[in-house]
Symmetry: C2
Subunit: 213 residues, 2 copies
DNA sequence: GGGCAGGTGCTCAAGTTTGACTAGTAAGTT
DNA sequence: AACTTACTAGTCAAACTTGAGCACCTGCCC
């Protein structure tokens, strides 16, 4: 799964009603163009696709107030909300070492009730542990790990990464359990959208110095 | 950059002369179908593409010795070797948190001379450090990190991951410097290819239990 | 000697991603 | 008044990826 659907659904949902350019702006505001495939083309494609699948409802042509071609506004449907939550839950529990999906999921984690968030994160650590032992068992040849030569370093990297992630996840669980942040049904949600006409401090302009690609 | 070109070029290079199915077999042998987009379609596409671009030379139709349609054999060209090394160096130095590229790069690291490998890995840690500080500076609002709410956790995750990677990289550097593995120009290279007719212990059959996707 | 399970080697259509491009408006500027 | 610049909003072709499928052969079993 790529992160684009989760990101777009989440952005539209937070906005209530949004056109493509607004979604694009929000995602840039979250820095998503730096860590995910949130390019214009992908965003517009995802919007159209999901509208066709009934996850979004497209309000045709609000003539643009500020230049440019006429724009389409989108609203999330019930089906879309369902799909959003499904994707979010999956992204939180499954271990697939894709930074973009993980990051997106953290960004939307407060859309779930607090105790569900904790449960899902615990499940995540459990799965990582399971994956870890299956890798060590499965990929270590009987004749000892030397057989693998430098290839063993790949495994080493995976395991190291997995361990680091468990550590981080446990920290997050602790913070959530001790009351940090505001979750679904706990009043005033934290909203990370750009108000109409607000300028974006993290826009596509200058980026980090060595943003190697 | 996706990992597919690096993987395919490296596989053909190690084999000397290979057809698509052999490349596919090698990549499976390395477990690459589990951590990268090394599906048949992608492999054949990459082979054709790179042949068209002059990175590979295609020997038309050696009639298959063992069933199936006639096959095309590929050899790497000088241009292809150049490109391979360029991709490898870039993958080793650049920090882009893509597991597949990283893993592929580790798999081919011994194709470089030992001291270059060390230099590149040190450059990698330097860049991660640079990236780390630019993130902390750039994404922490003046009004203190509380402004970000739970979004700050995304940054937290990035930093934690980056730190874990630096740690692992330093470990690898130490192992290489103290003489582990056999690098380019040090005699008998470690070759991870399947001999003709050898069976693949890690083939596409059963996979890890919870290989979440 | 027919059937069929399974391996070999590749192709193809459908879907997704990319990055450059279009085209319109507003607002400053010589 | 003409000219440049910048922003808004979206499109498009080309590239890439995916997963299923095809056709062919081998060996085996009854």
């Amino acid at each position: 799964m790529s992160a684009i659907r989760l990101l777009v659904l989440g952005a539209v949902r937070q906005h209530g009603r949004a056109h493509g350019y607004q979604v694009r702006g929000d995602l840039e505001y979250w820095g998503a163009h730096e860590w995910s495939n949130a390019k214009p083309g992908s965003i517009y494609h995802a919007l159209k696709q999901m509208a066709k699948q009934g996850l979004l409802h497209a309000h045709e042509i609000a003539p643009s107030t500020a230049g440019g071609p006429p724009r389409t506004e989108y609203e999330i449907t019930d089906l879309g909300t369902e799909e959003f939550l499904r994707l979010l839950r999956e992204a939180l529990t499954s271990y697939d070492q894709k930074m973009d999906v993980k990051s997106a999921a953290i960004g939307f984690i407060v859309d779930l009730p607090r105790d569900e968030a904790v449960t899902l994160l615990k499940e995540r650590t459990r799965r990582i542990g399971e994956w870890r032992s299956s890798v060590t068992e499965h990929y270590v040849p009987e004749d000892g790990p030397e057989q693998l030569g430098h290839i063993g370093e790949i495994m080493n990297l995976w395991i190291h990464t997995a361990d680091a992630e468990v550590e981080w996840t446990l920290g997050l669980i602790a913070r959530i359990e001790s009351g940090a942040y505001t979750f679904a049904g706990e009043g005033e949600p934290f909203v990370g959208v750009l108000a109409e006409g607000d300028e974006n401090p993290y826009a596509t302009g200058e980026k980090h110095p060595e943003d190697a690609r």
